[in-house]
């Protein structure tokens, strides 16, 4: 099966097309979408095993020779990201059954999710820079649908901003790819990597590197390009927010990591220094935002910004521990952000508000919710046995090894602020007097919402406790990132 690595992209696409046939039959939609997701997850697991045993998998579409056709490449980092994106989607869909409402389900909600997964998984798997642009558009178009679906006033307002920002960044992406093409004359990422290393240090290549940082920085929300994120993400309903918060910015982060490890490795002194400075400022900006708000959604949204900074800092060091930590933290962050958004979704549903000052005393009536939120919050901050610890430890270790003392101290200090911001939610929402009084949520709905959230929290706990078992996978992922020749050799397979 040489096409195995395409299955996590193709299965969501196939099921999205099938779901378009019967939008009004909600039950059938729910069943079909879950079957599709489980099939895709199974294929991703098979692919993971295959990549682990046989190394990087590649296929060039249409039986053309590598630089001429579109190559799809599945190395360890991309297959891990594909796997976690499908996992998050399963929980979000499960949660949506109860939470999203029939009106939205009848208006192509599930097809939009499946198309978005096609785009996300395709962007993680592709080995062609223009094909990456196309997959970005696939996922962005579906996210436009998801953000505006329902047509509330705030959604309409924020979707206009979101679309405007993304159209500007997409056109910049095309322009940048145009510049790159005029310099190297190829679009295949492995071929670009080889050509750029032959050119060596050159001014125009550095300019293109910075342009790519701007393009992917808008998608991935780095300082000062994250301005669109807090407003736009707060607009859609919670399951959509969970999907966006867990996946969309990570695609931008992955694209930065990929281009900065595969393409632009000749002038590290400038480009990676810039990336490092920006990632530190991103962390600071995120911390300021996370402390400033009394709004549940905003606090977690600014935590996305902080995480983006930490991941990119790890990647910018370009040494072994830094990269390993960055990969660990990337997967951790996808899982934990999904879990946190699902949990605060329940809190918002119970209290009917997202303002922290108007809620309190939920601990007595909803202990399971409280404890799982506490575990997720500790995981987010990186308390040792939980999932955020190992990634941040390795990032900081990489920072000290690279003699970036101050930057590493910033990362450590940011953990405290993350913990403070997450615990503030815990203190305000769960402790104290019961300010809400009237709880409109029925016990059945509460249980149905809580199950997917708790299961996801349990998975993050396993991710942290069992990180010993994950080390071989993560090491493979960081090896490919640190050594571009593994990637190019796999694509050209002895041709060059």
């Amino acid at each position: 099966m040489i096409n195995l690595l395409l299955f996590p992209v193709l299965i969501p696409f196939l099921f999205a097309a099938i779901l378009l046939f019967f939008p009004k039959k909600v039950k059938a939609q729910r069943i079909t979408v879950m079957i599709g997701l489980l099939l895709a997850l199974a294929s991703a697991i098979v692919l993971l095993v295959k990549v682990k045993t046989d190394g990087v998998q590649t296929v060039t579409l249409g039986s053309w020779a590598p630089p001429f056709g579109i190559t799809m490449v599945s190395d360890m980092i991309s297959v891990l990201l594909v796997l976690s994106s499908l996992l998050i989607a399963i929980f979000v869909v499960w949660y949506s059954y109860t939470s999203i409402g029939e009106d939205r389900e009848k208006a192509f909600y599930y097809p939009a999710i499946m198309f978005m997964l096609t785009g996300v998984n395709g962007a993680f798997t592709t080995g062609d820079i223009f094909n990456m642009f196309v997959f970005f558009e696939v996922l962005l178009m579906s996210s436009y649908v998801l953000i505006v679906l329902g047509g509330e006033k705030v959604q309409l307002r924020e979707s206009i901003k979101y679309i405007l920002v993304n159209i500007v960044s997409s056109s910049l992406f095309v322009i940048t790819v145009g510049y790159l093409y005029s310099v190297v004359g190829t679009l295949n990422m492995a071929d670009i990597s080889i050509k750029l290393s032959e050119i060596g240090q050159s001014g125009i290549v550095t300019v293109i590197a910075v342009l790519f940082l701007i393009v992917f920085g808008i998608k991935g929300a780095i300082f000062p390009l994250f301005f669109w994120l807090p407003g736009s993400y707060a607009a859609p309903p919670v399951p959509v927010l969970a999907l966006f918060g867990a996946l969309l910015t990570k695609v931008g982060v992955y694209a930065i990591m990929r281009t900065y490890t595969l393409f632009f490795t000749t002038d590290i002194g400038y480009t990676h220094e810039l990336l490092m400075v920006i990632s530190i400022i991103t962390i600071i900006a995120g911390c300021v935002g996370a402390l400033a708000y009394f709004d549940l959604k905003q606090i977690i949204i600014y935590n996305i910004v902080i995480a983006v900074g930490v991941i990119l800092f790890g990647a910018s060091i370009m040494n072994k521990s830094g990269m390993l930590g960055s990969v660990f933290y990337l997967i951790h962050d996808i899982l934990i952000k999904g879990a946190l958004f699902l949990l605060i979704g329940i809190i918002i549903k119970i209290t009917g508000t997202s303002d922290l000052r108007k809620m309190g005393g939920l601990m007595k009536r909803y202990p399971a919710l409280a404890w799982s939120y506490l575990i997720a919050a500790f995981g987010l901050a990186g308390i040792p046995p939980l999932s955020g610890f190992i990634g941040k430890l390795l990032v900081v270790q990489g920072g000290f090894e690279g003699e970036y003392i101050w930057q590493s101290i910033f990362i450590l200090a940011s953990s405290l602020i993350v913990l403070l911001s997450a615990i503030r939610i815990f203190i305000y929402a769960f402790w104290g007097e019961d300010k809400v009084g009237l709880h409109t949520i029925s016990p059945k709905t509460y249980r149905q919402l809580l199950f997917p959230a708790i299961t996801l929290v349990a998975i993050t706990v396993f991710y942290g406790v069992g990180s010993e078992y994950l080390v071989p996978f993560m090491t493979d992922a960081s090896t490919v990132l640190l050594d571009p020749s593994v990637y190019t050799d796999a694509v050209f397979g002895g041709l060059k």
Partner: protein, 140 residues
């Protein structure tokens, strides 16, 4: 307001078929000369838009009782199936094949699987364009 649009309706009845045939021609010509599924699909939908202008939304929907969402989905499935056919032969995805066939009337013709992919594109373009126009036009 009821206007007398006899001339435009009569002309449309003739012109519609000319545009329709031209769209089919452009679609089949795509492999060797400019054209293909996208332009063909746009021409086809422009023919339907001409019908919409000459008659009204309701009569055209009765004339062509097509659910354009389903048409789009069918197009997607046809394209995907064409590209995915290669999976069953264990060659890379999107590998196309062609052969010569003796068809009635046309004689010896080369048929390439890229044409079936283009059929999907054609249907998607018609479906999406008509969905947009009917949605906006249907708003009172």
């Amino acid at each position: 307001m009821k206007t007398n649009d006899l001339i435009i309706q009569t002309t449309t009845k003739v012109v519609f078929f000319i545009i329709f045939l031209f769209s089919i021609h452009i679609f089949f010509a795509g492999h060797y000369t400019p054209g293909g599924g996208f332009v063909g699909g746009l021409l086809m939908s422009s023919a339907i838009v001409l019908l919409l202008l000459a008659f009204d939304l309701k009569p055209v929907q009765e004339m062509l009782p097509i659910n354009y969402t389903v048409l789009t989905a069918t197009g997607l499935l046809i394209s995907l199936a064409t590209a995915a056919g290669s999976i069953f032969f264990n060659v890379p995805f999107f590998t196309h094949a062609y052969d010569y066939f003796n068809l009635p009337l046309l004689g010896e013709t080369s048929i390439h699987t890229a044409m079936f992919f283009d059929t999907g594109v054609y249907l998607v373009v018609v479906g999406v364009t008509m969905t947009i126009i009917q949605m906006i036009g249907g708003d009172e």
